[in-house]
Amino acid sequence: MRRTFCALALALTLALVCAGCSSTGAEADAGAVEVPELVRAPNESTQPNQLEVSLEAREARKSYISGPSTAVWTYNGTVPGPLLDAKQGDELVVHFHNSLPEETTIHWHGVRVPAAMDGTPRMQDPVPPNGTFEYRFTLKDPGLFWFHPHVRSDEQVEKGLYGVVRVGGSDEPTSDRESILVLDDVNVMPDGSLPTYLDDESKMLGRQGKTLLVNGAASPILHWRAGSLDRFRIVNVANGRFFNLSLPGYTWRVIGTDGGLIPEPYDTERLLISPGERYDVLLVVHGEPGTRVTLVNEPYERGHDTGKEDPMPVADFIVTGEAPLSGRVLPQGFPKLERLQDGTVDQRLVLNEDLHNGELVFTINDATFPDVPLIDVPAGSMQRIEVQNDSKMDHPFHLHGTFFQVLTTNGEATAPERLANKDTVIVPQMSTLKLAARFDEPGGWMYHCHILEHAEGGMMGEIDVAPLR
């Protein structure tokens, strides 16, 4: 019996190998989906300079991979949720309805909002099941931002609750095409479900799925035209996975990050994006029609042997048969950015990991949220915050309510070309960053590790900007 199986298997194997050798690109793409474009939320407003949308958090089903579909949580039925496309200075009005079986909020990651609109339980009562809330604020800054819950965020984001806000500015760079890439991962069980048990490795590294997603699709393809100047706006919405992107034959021209365009674009072979961060990059496409290049997530050592993981394909980019474009050039620079002044350290935060009663916890100044001491700062003040990572893994540090700049890393000043407005930054293991931030908006603002399991595991604190509203 076994020998019969062996003969059949070997025959089938040879047939498949031969078929594979002679397959055309088109055959190889059978079943692969094009990177899905995000669907714009329709504007319900007739007012100029206003984007008014309805968002409903609700359950749905989604097929990530072949096999049974997965129960997901969505905004308006899709993962990712709809694109909120606006321009700088617009008022955003969101009529939010919670159709989920548990309470939730919407946090506007990176958007400078009034504290009452920030979606944190400190400043807003969570929206109960079947409850509603109206978010209303002005979009002050151009850039790519995203939204997600700030209640049980590790579970709610993992289930699919995230979406993107794009705010156009007056000096956007020209490109032939602009694509938003929302990067995530998911761990689909054989029955289609997502794991409900949080194992210790996921506590330590954040949930990491075996399936990488671009705009909700696994292993998609993207067709692009030779000679085209393509702009990619990339956001990492994964709970724990760092994306360390390489595209063989290409160098990323980085033109922006969390807080918009940067004054001095730079080139890099690897684009490292931690959870929560965004990068804005340009490439000029080259190659003959049919040329295929694979976007790869390369290993990155962020602690606990993560650098030994295998590379993972993210998507395939294929040159179309259209006539090549010519004459496209990469931009050299954008308007200057005001460098925030250095000074003595006002606040010191020490990040660490520890065992408390046999359980893994993530601490700030030796305490876990909500016991991390509150920081009080006056409105309008500039604060220099030293973030010292004493743990053996990287932590993406996220600050709500304002942008910050990295002044120094381990005492070394940030190079002019790396100066940027950030809201999320990697604090490398056993390293210290000195940040500067101006706190103009009164209210309570959270800061935390954006590995969501770390935030929920204690690595979170609050800054009160007086006077509180």
């Binding site: 062996c6 194997t13 210790d200 520890d354 893994l360």
Partner: protein, 127 residues
């Protein structure tokens, strides 16, 4: 995709063909034991990683022994889980672990054993 399928089939065929027909020491309904892969210090305790050779276990049970004491159950996790930090293994001594799969009222054989000391920063050793 085709190449992946071909590789899998080739592997399957090779494994199957190199196995002798009398390799049936365990009956087809016997549960396969997990394979313990790592036992290493982490945060002052010990972290275990394993492979679940049986894909439909209800749970994976871990037993631990210290010194020459007998094995005692130290934790149980759902059958799809493949790692666990034993946060109670914090003393300067060798801890030895073994695992088994449980499905219904049936158990697999025990896995291989691994041993480590949480205060020694080195990889775990086979027991």
């Amino acid at each position: 995709m085709k190449r992946t399928a071909a590789f899998l089939l080739l592997t399957l065929a090779t494994v199957g063909c190199s196995s002798s027909d009398d390799m049936t020491g365990s009956s087809s309904d016997a549960l396969q034991a997990p394979m313990l892969m790592k036992c290493m210090p982490m945060e002052g305790a010990l972290h275990l990683e394993w492979m679940n050779m049986q894909k439909d276990c209800d749970s994976v049970e871990a037993e631990r022994k210290m010194h020459s004491n007998p094995f005692e159950m130290v934790f149980s996790v759902p059958g799809s889980v493949d790692n666990k930090m034993d946060g109670t293994a914090t003393e300067d001594m060798d801890y030895t672990y073994r695992l088994r799969c449980k499905k219904g009222d049936k158990y697999s054989d025990y896995s291989n054993e691994m041993m480590a000391n949480p205060t020694h920063d080195s990889a775990g050793a086979g027991g």
